[in-house]
């Protein structure tokens, strides 16, 4: 059974019953799941985690859904890779990449959706739904297929073909909406009001978002039970950024690691960087923007957790930076060509910001740094199509050797 105790409003702190609702009855503020940490500390240890399943569910006690009832396509426990070649290029000796490209639907979204789908099943819903920039669409459709329940997925009509196919294959009802992601989200809020469906990022959001904490737990476990000195995290709504910080602190609260001194750095794309803009201006009032960036998975102009993300930057003494489309694409190539990881555009944002932090001397060369790579490059091939340059020859050895000589010259 879960160790959850209540939902608590992040604004007015009033507690309410654990239901599929995302907004406080009293002040309309966002709700967050509360746990009985004393009870969790009694049952959870490094040993118990190690003996758990080889997936994010090894941290089940800290997740708000019943692990016995879980909708599990084996999300999480993705590799943490020591990035020596990229580190050398940037002058960093202790650089690690959390490679979440290799989740079952190729992005970190499987973590949040596995929790959301399980919570939806706990609550007895028969339909799973979401508004998505693409990665969430595929993950929700896959988990609904695994659970054998109905699925509605709402996407902006201009989404990359790879992401449309990557969701459609699992057989959901796929609704393409003429408009931006923010438009899709607004529509879904109204649909969620009218239909009794589990919208993972609306009425099930307090449960859903907790899944991202596992990105913090796993990094700490894979570093040998310690928090990194720096974390670089891409942000759209800002939710994952806040949850990684929460995850590291929870591990400390239950006595599994020492107090995290992690500087949390947020990475956004210049064409959609309302959180970084507020950080640069030294204010906590997020001004929404109309996104225009190659990093479509980060194209949220109205970030719901922006304020809380700014608080995490402040609490952790981190920073925020944005990179432009050219830097994003260039960083995707650098990552692929130094470490063999083909990340989607959001990964280019992370690496682009990592390069800025290194160039500015904000990361010490021996400080342990984790950069989060949260989605797979095969989904956004359009961004780097220009790499597809081939050497064309006839099937003869002479042709080959002539061509290679020309290449080498």
């Amino acid at each position: 059974m879960p160790y959850t105790t209540a939902l608590r409003c992040k604004e007015c702190s009033r507690e309410s019953e654990l239901l599929p609702v995302n907004v406080c009855d009293f002040c309309f503020g966002p709700l967050e799941v509360q746990y009985d940490y004393d009870a969790i500390a009694r049952v959870m240890s490094r040993e118990s985690i190690k003996n758990g399943p080889p997936s994010m569910w090894r941290y089940a006690e800290l997740l708000p859904a019943d692990p016995e009832n879980r909708v599990d396509i084996n999300a999480g426990l993705t590799p943490l890779i020591k990035a020596d070649r990229l580190g050398k290029a940037l002058g960093l000796n202790e650089l690690y990449l959390k490679n979440d490209c290799v989740n079952p639907t190729y992005s970190f979204k499987d973590r949040v959706v596995s929790v959301a789908a399980t919570a939806a099943r706990d609550f007895g819903f028969d339909t799973l739904a979401c508004a998505s920039t693409g990665n969430l669409a595929g993950s929700v459709a896959a988990h609904a297929a695994r659970a054998g329940i109905r699925c509605y997925v709402f996407i902006p009509a201009d989404l990359e073909l790879g992401k449309v196919v990557g969701a459609a294959i699992y057989g959901p009802t796929l609704v393409a909406v003429n408009g931006s992601y923010d438009d899709v989200n607004r529509l879904c809020s109204e649909i969620a009001d009218r239909y009794g469906w589990a919208f993972v990022n609306i009425n099930v959001r307090p449960y859903y978002s907790e899944g991202s904490k596992t990105l913090g737990y796993e990094a700490a476990e894979q570093l040998g039970w310690r928090a990194p000195d720096h974390a670089i995290v891409p942000a759209a709504s800002g939710s994952m950024f806040t949850k990684i910080w929460k995850g590291l602190n929870e591990l400390h609260d239950i006595g599994i690691i020492s107090k995290p001194n992690t500087k949390m750095h947020i990475a956004q794309a210049e064409g959609s960087s309302p959180i970084v803009s507020a950080y640069d201006a030294g204010i906590k009032d997020i001004r929404p923007v109309r996104p225009d960036t190659v990093a479509k998975s980060l194209a949220i102009g109205n970030p719901a957790d922006g304020y809380y993300a700014l608080k995490v930057i402040e609490d952790s003494e981190g920073t925020g930076h944005a990179v432009n489309d050219e830097e994003i694409v260039d960083s995707m190539k650098l990552l692929a060509q130094t470490e063999g990881i083909f990340a989607e555009t959001a990964g280019g944002v992370t690496i682009g910001v990592l390069r800025k932090l290194a160039a500015k001397g904000l990361i010490g060369k021996d400080e342990v740094t984790v950069a989060y790579i949260t989605g797979n490059g095969l989904k956004t091939q359009e961004a780097v199509q220009d790499v597809a340059q081939t050497v064309n020859i006839n099937a003869s050895l002479r042709d080959f050797e002539d061509a290679i000589k020309a290449e080498d010259a």
């Binding site: 503020g29 989200n185 993972v200 990022n201 109205n302």
Partner: protein, 91 residues
């Protein structure tokens, strides 16, 4: 000037389940004042002590975020649709 104000589920506890009202006003703040007159308690949920909208409340006129229009002073025309939507997380 009659506009429709759509009320989201979390606010319907204040409105006894009513999901939309017609309001006669030529400006957004006027329409919201009418909503609050009919259902006292709305104001505290939408505005902070300084009279500004809470940061986690989004208001749209005909689908357009009022922060891209004129905020609470956004003019309203006959038949306009005002939606109140709590912030949602993304993906």
């Amino acid at each position: 000037m009659s506009v429709t104000v759509k009320i989201p589920t979390p606010l319907r506890r204040v409105t006894d389940g009513v999901d939309e009202i017609e309001a006669s006003s030529d400006r957004l703040d006027g329409a919201l004042a009418i909503l609050n007159e009919r259902f006292p308690g709305i104001k505290e949920r939408l505005f902070n002590d300084e009279g500004e909208l809470h940061r986690f409340v989004n208001i749209y006129v005909n689908g357009e975020d009022v922060r891209f229009l004129s905020g609470l002073e956004t003019p309203l025309n006959e038949g306009d649709e005002v939606s109140i939507v709590p912030a949602v997380a993304g993906g």
